[in-house]
Amino acid sequence: MDLAFMGRTFLTLIEGVPLLLELAGLSLSIGAVFALLLATMRLSGVGVLDWTAQSYIFVFRGTPLLVQIFLIYYGLGQFRPALQEVGLWWFFREPFYCAVFALTLNTAAYAAEIFRGGLLSVPHGQIEAAKACGMSRLQRFRRITLPIAVRQALPAYGNEIILMVKATSLASVITLMEVTGLAHRLIAQSFRAVEVFVVAGAIYLFINFAVTRAILVIEWRLSPHLRQAPEGEAPMKPAPAHARGA
């Protein structure tokens, strides 16, 4: 292994990190909103809504992301006149928007099921207790259901975030030069696949290390009642911090 070469490789590949973070960040945030909507539809008890959300999730979880990206980018590219007519071509013309679109639709399907699991895991007794305290529906959701659901869903959702960081590597197939795209180009110039991919892998590993640490911190903050009370404090706290709206 040539360390000087790997150093230069690192400097080249690191230029793809902003694009990687933009793709993952945008699609995860838009996807999370969309997923919450889908999860609510699944739990609404209204047949049509439930069925629509189920079919969507079935299609987007059941097909490879690579195929979705190809279909959205090259597939829709064949329908330019129709898309121009409805004024959507400016969006589908750009590889960046197409990639964010595909990643968003994909993560929304996975996250919807994770959120649904989180919402279902809220113990009935706690909701009943909140009702007994006279909380309104919105108060119950904000103070009890949401914090508990988020905490329960967090480990699985953390997985999803990591998968999305790695999924951005597929954007290189539609000409976006993120870390993997730059790695391919560098291999073509240097013919040194091992060194370049080792550095690329290390970059993903580092980003995902930061992601896992951040998730751990959030998980820790959301579960104060599961920790031992600090010395000197009353053993029975009035209510968990999150339930007080902290």
Partner: protein, 285 residues
């Protein structure tokens, strides 16, 4: 005798067998040669709807193998990894429209070229670039001044335009070196993909081998595509298309070179080239 003792010689035997199996093939002479192609670069090499391979290089490979009296196995390999996989011993030769360049010569070896041909720009007929000046043939090696003048003439017209090219190719090298500061370059995995994006209007032009353009323009939806500017060759665009080989396989290189010389001499390359490209791409010399 206990069972566990019988393991000793058995294991040793397996290790010996493994060591024999990984001996360089060259030591035994060539009986089977594995040739990699891309399978997505019509008419050089491409996959039919049923998955079978066809094209100029498939026909030529079969012809060369018959001349070398070896059995050939043609495998498909993505363009981007085609040289590393050759070095890793996944196959023994590359026939995939690959040009001889100095950069590639540092890591692999080449036979003599079996085809040559110009490279250039293509646009859709209704594009503002359809009147891009320049014609005929230009060599980056022997006419550097004419090339510089051409680029200067192109610059105001190409400023800010989006040009597609297959990544990791001599074409991409040309764009980066000569037009990198002028146009926005988008790199694709295959030429078929940049063709699609040209017709979808995401690209203002594409840069590739004229032979590939000719094949694309056969398709009805690309009837409006137009080659503009001169046909360029030499320099970063390479010294002709040849068989790529590992540097230690001198014997195989000489076998290919001899077979290509024979195929040139008896007109096979000319015949195959006219069949697939509609023109004679036999390299000079």
């Amino acid at each position: 005798m206990s069972k566990s003792k019988a393991f000793g010689p058995g294991l040793a035997g397996a290790v010996v067998a493994l060591a024999l199996a990984t001996q360089p093939v060259a030591a035994q002479g060539w009986e089977t040669v594995r040739i990699a192609t891309e399978g997505a670069y019509a008419p050089w090499n491409f996959s039919n709807a049923d998955g079978s391979l066809a094209g100029f290089e498939i026909d030529l490979a079969n012809d060369l193998c018959a001349r070398m009296e070896v059995t050939c196995e043609i495998v498909v390999q993505d363009w981007a990894g085609i040289i590393p996989a050759l070095q890793a011993g996944k196959y023994d030769a590359i026939m995939a429209g690959m040009n001889i360049t100095d950069q590639r010569m540092e890591v692999i070896d080449f036979s003599i070229p079996y085809a040559g041909g110009p490279h250039g720009l293509a646009v859709m007929a209704d594009s503002p670039l359809a009147d891009l000046p320049g014609e005929g043939r230009l060599s980056l090696d022997s006419d550097p001044d004419a090339v510089a003048a051409l680029i200067a003439e192109w610059t105001p017209m190409l400023e800010g335009k989006v040009i597609g090219v297959q990544g990791s190719t001599t074409n991409a090298n040309f764009l980066t070196e000569y037009l990198g500061d002028i146009v926005e370059i988008r790199e694709y995995g295959t030429t078929e993909q940049h063709d699609l994006d040209l017709s979808a209007g995401r690209l203002d032009g594409i840069f590739a081998a004229h032979s590939a353009f000719n094949a694309t323009m056969q398709k009805p939806e690309f009837a409006d595509m137009k080659i503009v500017g001169p046909g360029l060759s030499g320099g970063v665009l390479g010294r002709g298309v040849a068989v790529g080989l590992r540097q230690e396989n001198d014997d195989l290189r000489d076998m290919f070179t001899k077979a290509i010389e024979d195929a040139k001499a008896d007109g096979t390359i000319k015949e195959l080239s006219e069949k697939w490209f509609g023109l004679d791409m036999t390299p000079a010399g």
